[in-house]
Amino acid sequence: MNLDSVKKSFSEEIKNVKDAKALESVRVRYLGRKDGEITKILRSLKDLSPEEKRKVGPEANALKAELELVLEKKLKSLAASQKSSSVDLTLPGKKIPFGHLHPLTQMEDRIKEIFSTLNFSVVEGPEVETEHYNFDALNIPANHPARDMWDTFWLLQNEIKNQKFKNLERLLLRTHTSPMQVRYMEKHRPPFQIIVPGRVFRFEATDASHEINFHQVEGLMVGTDVNLANFKYVIEEFLQQLFGAGTHVRFRPSYFPFVEPGLEVDVQLNSKWLEVMGAGMVHPNVFKAVGYNPKEVQGFAFGMGLERLAMIKYKIPDIRMFYSGDLRFINQF
């Protein structure tokens, strides 16, 4: 037989092989050490002229390699088809019940994680606050339109005695997480850096971007020489970890009574600038209110809305969805 006819008859025979035993006999017939067809051809090379040798030799070796490969594949597929007869591997995966954490929890976790890597601690504070902590200690005067920036829910018949000032204080639902700046500083000495996630309340009509309760994350870093350029570093680092490396971040002037200078932070997403944070250097009056000497310490504070960040990140169109309790929404995250 010449090489072509060997190849042809091998192909025919291999097609009809049904089990490993038949496969082995095919192998012996073609590649067997004694009488294999290919073996015979290779052995006969020595009788050929040098010219013929150069032509037939490599062709015979290539065919040998090809046949070995085909035999190997056939062996594997035989083994596989034998197993599949007892277990159907194509059965679909079982649906394992899996709980989904609320998207706001996931956003909060991510924020906590990033700030943890920057050595910030995480603390929380009460949702019911006094006028002192929510406004007065934060340099937000009574009867000033500045206070209108925070529309407030007041509690009924729930005045408590303020230990420090010995007068009755009105209770309210905190309008921001900033009161924890005051509470934390009253109990700790700098240097420190903290974030404060928590629920806050605003007396305002609800719509797609306003809710009567929502969540903020407050930040505070105080030391002897913590400066505004440090703030820029920390916040750029945070926002780039949150929204992706290379995210453009912009800082611009703003006004909040408890910081000076005050600023706002925007990120650029899909070529649009979106406001995500209010911030600034802690106002000396706030340091005075907690008993620090403003000549000895300085630092920055910032606050951001959790819902807003989640809406931007997950492209959620309506803030009210967060409070719907609708699993068709929650289970997407």
């Binding site: 394992i96 609320h102 509690l155 820029k232």
Partner: protein
Amino acid sequence: MKFSYSLLKKFASKIPAPAKFIEEFPLRAFEVENVNGDTIDIAIPANRYSDAASHIGIARLASAIFGGRLKEPASANLKPKSSSKKFSVKISAPKLCSRYSGLYAEKIKIQPSPKWLQEILVSCGLRPINNVVDIMNYVMLEIGQPMHAFDANLVSGAINVRLASDKEKVTTIDGGNYELSNSDLAIADDKGVLAIAGIKGGKRAEVNSQTEKIIVEAANFEAANIYKTSRRINLTTDASLRFGHGLSSVLAERAIKRTAKLLQEICGAKIGDWLDIGQTKLPKKVLKFDAEKFNKLIGLDLNQKTCLNYLQTLGFKIRGKIVEIPPERTDVAIFEDLAEEIVNLYGYDKMPSKIPHVALLPSGYEDLIALKDKVRQILSGFGLSEVYNYSFFPGYVEVANPIAEDKKYLRGSLFPQLEKNVEDNLRFYDGVRIFEIGKIFKSGVVLSFYDREELSLGLAIAGKDQNSLPEIKGIVDQLLLGIGLADYTIIQSDLNKLTIEAPDHRYIGNFYARGKTALAELNLETVLDLASEEREYQPIPKYPSVMRDLSVVVGVDTRVGKVQNIIENGSHLLDDIDLLDWYEDPKKIGNSRKSLTFRLIFQAKDHTLTDEEVGKEMEKIVAALEDQFEVEVR
């Protein structure tokens, strides 16, 4: 606040085109909300009404940012008189009115004002009325000082700035009727109230088509008082907004001089006496500026001269290290305020980001936050999804100013909202398994501030056709084990309620079953108190355990918990017990009976238990059961 671009351009010639202005002004000064034709809407911060709620103020900032000289509008050269034959003014409430300027003008012909002036008013959202009223409004837009003009013929006697008497009535120029209180400030004459000070003029001495002589008012009122009155009578005007934020009294004098000029130019008026009483001289405010201190606060490296130059372009006067604050800058009081002015003009884009150098102190999560995270991990692992509900739901703590009738209280439990969530979701799912972590609010005797609210964990499980209570009990048990709380008891406290108690009888939480929905609520603060992370190795049993099943038939009213309790206490060799199966079947076991099958695991620490030993233990258990119930062992 609306501004006219063309008027700003008149004062600040280098102000860029609106498209560029809206882009760049916010990066150095205030947010620009919108541009529409000649109208530019700028957000004035609450502390900047005195210097910046005016075209001259915005132009001053724009000149500092974009360069060019500020061109101030022309004023009449006037000197105040100490008295006048034509009119007189007095301040009876000096704490609430620091300055009152009155200007007399006559030979006025009331006409429409010129077109250019009308256009600027319209750009700023004001309606042109007549030349006198329009000049008053225009000067307010230019200088930031609210103005008012009275028809001098309709004023009887002296103008008196006084507190209103209780229930004193006034009709405003727009026909509104208001009743004042004795804490509201009024501008009055012999006949009564002429105007609600700082808010709105009255009808009685209104400038009208017959007016020939006027008294112009430019005054300064105490901010908080105007703010309170404006809120109380629910009337907000351009004037009340400006006075409510606090203005410098220097604006009054600038406005009077400018008004005189315009009255001459536009109305051909003859300007009479100017009476200026109250605080007419303002004390100079100065601050020391030190670039080193600035660089420490901001993290920049600017020299003294550069810093002072920025302040100078904003109208601050510089003498050596001393900075004199312009009188209209009521917002600048401390060093940090100066620092803000400089860094704003310098630009945050040019400020470097600097890595903080601080002591490496340990950081971490508060215990309660760590616990919440762990609870979330465990429960989501059990297949429960997390919901958030409103803090408002009928409860015990009442809100003084509720936003809606159904949001009058703060929730006292997480149950009702979770039940509602279950119901809503069952429309789309065969089973619902959810949890929520949130604050609930308690009233009653408040021991300390923090006792008012507590951190609660609520769980709810419902299937379409099964009793979910065993599942939720199992989940809570595993959850508590997972967070290190193994020692608790469950007692039935109500027909469909179980209470979870600590060994010291402290309340941990409760289970509640309603229909096919099973709920659980736990006080996470108590759980945190009781939980222990400590674990200690127990030797792995060396000898095999022995398993026996025990089937008993008891009365249908017999509580499984009690039966299990007796079995558990019936043998000291009993290591574990599980309820394998239970059923009621009148045909097999008779009416009002139920069958319970328990699997018992016996284990001894020091030897392999023999059949005989285990048999004895089983007998002891059965005897204990028979002692308590009418049981039939099968």
